[in-house]
Amino acid sequence: MNTLEITKDTPHNKLEEKAKKTQLSGSQAVLEALIAEGVDTIFGYPGGAIMPIYDALYDYNDRLKHILVRHEQGGIHAAQGYARTSGKTGVVFATSGPGATNLVTGLADAMIDSNPIVCVTGQVFAHLLGTDAFQETDVINITTPVTKWNYQVTDASEIPAALAKAFYIASTGRPGPVLIDITKNAQLQLFDYEGYTLCHHIRSYRPAPIIRKSYIEEAAKLINQAKKPFVLFGQGVILGKAEEEFKTFIEKTGIPAAWTIMGLSALPTDHPLNVGMLGMHGNYAPNVLTNECDVLIAIGMRFDDRVTGRLDKYAKQAKIIHLDIDPAEIDKNVKTTVPVWGNCKETLPLLTELVAETQHEEWLQKFRMLEQEEINTVITTELQPSEGEMTMGEVINILNELTQDDAVIVTDVGQHQMVACRYARFKQSKSNVTSGGLGTMGFGLPAAIGAWYGAPERTVVAIIGDGGIQMTIQELGTIMQFGAKVKILILNNQFLGMVRQWQQLFHDKRYSFVNITSPDYTTVAQGYHIPGNRIEDRSNLREALMEMLAHDGSYLLEVMVGRENNVFPMVPQGSSVSEIRLK
């Protein structure tokens, strides 16, 4: 009997082989990549050029939660908030052209504040690139200065590797935002999907520098010899997940430690060695004593000009030890005596091992003495005013009490931000979400939505000024639709307060365009089916805050505070940190 013998070379067999390979569209490959990377939440806004990905998302609904924001800027700030409270990488989808350009502010914010973000933007068909096609913009070139890395995909087969690189780059070393721009043809194109491989290394990319033990030994020697050592810590401690290592280090050495606003919550507020906030509106003692310490140990912070004031008068008397994962930060602003490159989770234990167990009681007392001066001159009046208009500080003070120092506090930008950072108290890390480096008004509300998705079991309070809330107020719609349980606390002083304060102090009270009128926020909230309240009287404050916190869901509370209250202390711009003004 003649039978047709199928050999390895027959066309039939080849077809079979082909059938074994999974055919996926580029869009499906994007979603498979997200699942493989452990993503569960995406913030985004659809549009023509990203429609194939959204079409595929329809079938992934059970594995990927998509939060439809009301503006792409809201999407990326939400992703930032999510990343900051969850410690994971935030993901954003946007369409081409205006969708992608609306991400730029958030990208810049995430870049300067080192937030791990992966943005996926749709792009016009590859054959239309560079033709000024409908909704085409050169997203790669626009976003280059504000991304850690970006890449344009024009062929579906590139997608798995591009996304694997994106997640690896965004989350490793000093984290940052990454953007992958995918042309529409690549989203639609079918290709042989060979699975997803996580990226662990890239030839040209060194996430963390090599740790040099000789420098750690030198640093330890300086610390052991120091009479008045002082620690400044920033977000690097949180990003490095080094809170415990950090605490062990300061407890062994007995060194007073002050924080930047990005480092806030890395050390519990009530820790005996926590001496407060650095910088322009920071605490009196750490600013003054920066210019008296003999060894300054900067950990995961970047000597921002808001922290240092005048550089030529900054800690000139001190030997500087700088621990940072980013070698470019060493010597960038402040000349370092001993650099300690590396992730502080690894370098701190090595340093702790070499330092002597010490107490610096006398030195610490100096901080406490100056702190008392600040309490007498500023803090008591701010937190416990007996009469007059309500202060922002007293609102935060009662909030601390009611939340038992355990809420996630998200702030917008301005006076309320500085007050919240100064007075909010924290028990656990990753509890403070703010726009530190870029100072982005409009950040607070969407970031709070993301913060809640990152830590849904916690109470999330968004503290926002009457200026900032109006920049991204449309995100109330997102809260309404998706039920994010965000407590929105508007501190309304009927001014763009921080600019007004500067105009008062440095521009002869010429209040140029800082008067801002507000809508009836509770009515606006009501329109979004969010309950709310507005109070003008101190006697209602506690009860109103209690009602807000007790409500099972989102809630908006507007508190009318003093119109021309100022945030003090203050280091005037162009002054040295030790010239900090108490009033």
Binding site: N141, I169, I202, R203, A328, I330, D331, K332
Partner: protein, 196 residues
């Protein structure tokens, strides 16, 4: 700190947009690039950039760190002119009749080591290579003989103490074997593609 000429030599993956990414680092700080050359390096898939700027050492050092921060940059070095061997190339187009008639031109070209690349009835193109000052001097001299056109290349430079990158590259390669790189299909195939 005093400003002087520095040659930055950087090695980066040969990817689209690299020049733009590097250029932004300079333009953002309002630093003018005096000369920029990019070419494939001795390592597969890695391009070498030679950038000349006039700045203080502190600024150049910080710039190199920022450049090295770029994901696709492997290494950036900076050197003073004493620490590199450098050249620029120049092409000069002069009317052939003048070259033929005026004996001093011939002497001039010999003096500067220039030689003819193309000789036509209407013009002759000479080529020379050297330091900027030498090229400038020849340009100045030829200007008197109806110089029609002149072009000069960016600087190319070899670091005298050149052990650095080779060693580094080996380290990089050990840590991460080379990736599949989509190479320029025309590279090294000039003879087959371009004909005069």
């Amino acid at each position: 700190m005093e400003k002087q000429e520095y040659t930055i030599t950087l090695y980066a993956e040969n990817t689209i947009g690299m020049i733009s990414r590097i250029a932004i680092i300079f333009s953002r700080r309002k630093i003018n690039i005096e000369s920029l050359n990019t070419s494939p390096s001795e390592a597969h898939g890695i391009h070498r950039f030679t950038i000349v700027i006039t700045e203080s050492e502190e600024v150049v050092r910080k710039l190199c760190r920022q450049i090295e921060k770029q994901v696709e940059v492997l290494k950036a070095y900076y050197n003073t002119n004493d620490e590199v061997i450098w050249q620029e190339q120049a092409l000069y187009k002069v009317p052939t009749n003048i070259v033929a008639e005026k004996a001093p031109i011939e002497r001039l070209l010999r003096e500067y080591g220039a030689h003819a690349v193309v000789i036509r009835n209407d013009y002759t193109v000479f080529e020379t290579a050297g330091h900027r000052e030498e090229i400038d001097k020849l340009t100045e001299a030829l200007a008197e003989y109806n110089l029609i056109e002149f072009v000069r290349s960016a600087r190319i430079a070899i670091i005298k103490d050149s052990e650095g990158f080779h060693k580094k590259l080996k380290e990089f390669e050990q840590a991460e074997p080379i990736e599949e790189v989509v190479e320029n299909e025309y590279l090294d195939k000039q003879d087959k593609i371009f004909t005069m």
